[in-house]
Amino acid sequence: MLANGISSSFVPSNLEMLRFAPELILSVAGTLLMVLDPFFGEGKKSPKIFGHISIVAFLLAIFGAVEANTVAGPAFSNLLIVDGFATYFRVLVLVIGVFAVLSSYLYLDREAADTCEYHALLLFSVAGQCLMVSSNDLIMIFIGLEISSIASYVLAGYLRNDRRNNESALKYFLLGSFATGFLLYGVSIVYGVTGTTKLDEIRTFLAAPGVPTGYVALAAALMIVGLGFKVSGAPFQVWAPDVYQGAPAPVSAFMATAPKAAAFAIFLRIFVTDFDKIGSSWEPLIWISALLSMTIGNFAALTQTNIKRMLAYSSIAHAGYLLVALAARSEIGTAAAMFYLAAYALMNIGAFAVVIHICGKGEKNVLISDLAGLGQKQPLTAGLLTVFVLSLIGVPLTGGFFGKFYIFRSALESHLVWLAILGLLNSAVAAYYYLRLLVVMYMHEPGEATESLEPLSPGLGLALALPAVGTFVLGVAPGAVLALATAGAALTK
């Protein structure tokens, strides 16, 4: 045994297994689901049991992630690192996983889709994201990213006979793999220059004086292209509207939140630690990308009529705000991005859950006009959507407000005054298209879609109520989550 509970032989120690617990639980659960399929899959069209099992697995994995944090440290020859940062993001993607399952029950039932594969893929995808955020090695990050992405490609086209699903999966797959190629080429150049892919060793190598940084800057640029695609930051955002619009609504909710949070986590981990020394060479790229994402996202969202497509453009704009925090290149900026990702995940899941509720079989009702009269017909659903919309705008007393506040404050403290001003102007533009949802919902007469609306199902009700409570808590008492984010943001430099 070496220090830190690391095994010196090839057999990992118990402590290392505990640090790997969330990934282990999720992959075992995913495999178990596929084994159980023949036993429970018969008879009923879409049995709910698989969803229940995966919720239990996600909750166990959250417990595992918290337990792993009590024995924080490296694992598996330093390939993984469990620290506050990893734990924060692990818990975040696992919570998103729970909400994704809760919001899928009704949808899968309505489409009479196979439930086993769906939940197994969801578990694998989140396992990949957990691996990504706790990696200490560029190759491990790549593998985690691919586990997460390959499962998401299938999920995006889950309803095989739906043409929109096909197209969404194809575009997601082609552009996702294209982006991976860039990321990987960046990794190979970093390996060529430094002779290692371990993040801490790269850091040590680059910290030495007189190291040539030109090629590392090139690698950083290639990785910005790769990760920029994954977080749908402009000019690499073109896939997002089509993919989010075409995918099944609960999958869109998942894809807009969990993979994005994980991709931002590795963005932050690699760029504010390892590449901090060459920060002056990549900061302008992030600056431009942030501004383009906010502007393109918000202005394109103004003219959308499809809610899913509008939310996709809004998620591009939110990626822009997050890139502002990355451009700040500071601990406060990292903490702000972490806080914002939590707030963003809650409000986005909630907004998509309302879409799942109103869309009906075959997703017929996904236009903004289909929300007409929702406030009159189902005041509770309308009220919850109002909470999410206000949070997306960034109105005080919601998580979105504090998220934006912390991000722009970190930008100002890093002297990115113009970026902060342009970001604030952008938020004002965004208010217009978000408020349009409220106008249609409360001031228009009920239409065909809302007249025939069924009452809120229990699963979807939870997927709406819990994020709403979370959004409110983040907006009233942001201290606890912010403290966790700040503690996690203290990455080793």
Binding site: I139, I150, G157, R160, F173, L174, G181, L184, Y191, G192
Partner: protein
């Protein structure tokens, strides 16, 4: 290059920089093909070309550093590329089944 210098260089083995240049050229061809080609299968092959370019550079760097880890990364990339191909071809098949076309410009039903 002067033939004699060329022979001398090759006598010492092909220099690593040549492999890296080849890798960069292959990667660029992959990117160009991805952007310019219209057939989905060809586009997919261009992505594979990009990944193989990366593999080549990993091998070249591993040789330069006299390390075995670079070779290992290549295997990881190959396994992932195989998994991606399995899923990707399945997706392409369902698209073809529902639309009877493999032209990427005709797959454009998602818009505002």
């Amino acid at each position: 290059m002067d033939p004699q210098v060329l022979m001398q260089t090759l006598g010492k083995g092909v220099p690593t920089s040549w492999y890296l240049a080849l890798s960069a050229v292959l990667f660029t061809i992959g990117v160009a093909g991805f952007i310019l080609r219209r057939n989905i299968i060809t586009v997919f092959m261009c992505i594979e070309l990009m990944l193989n370019a990366v593999n080549l550079s990993f091998i070249a760097f591993a040789h330069e550093h006299r390390q075995v880890s670079g070779h290992l990364f290549t295997f990881f990339v190959m396994v992932v590329a195989a998994a991606e191909a399995a899923v990707g071809l399945a997706i392409i098949l369902t698209v073809f089944k529902n639309r009877s076309t493999l032209n990427i410009d005709e797959i454009d039903s998602l818009k505002n």
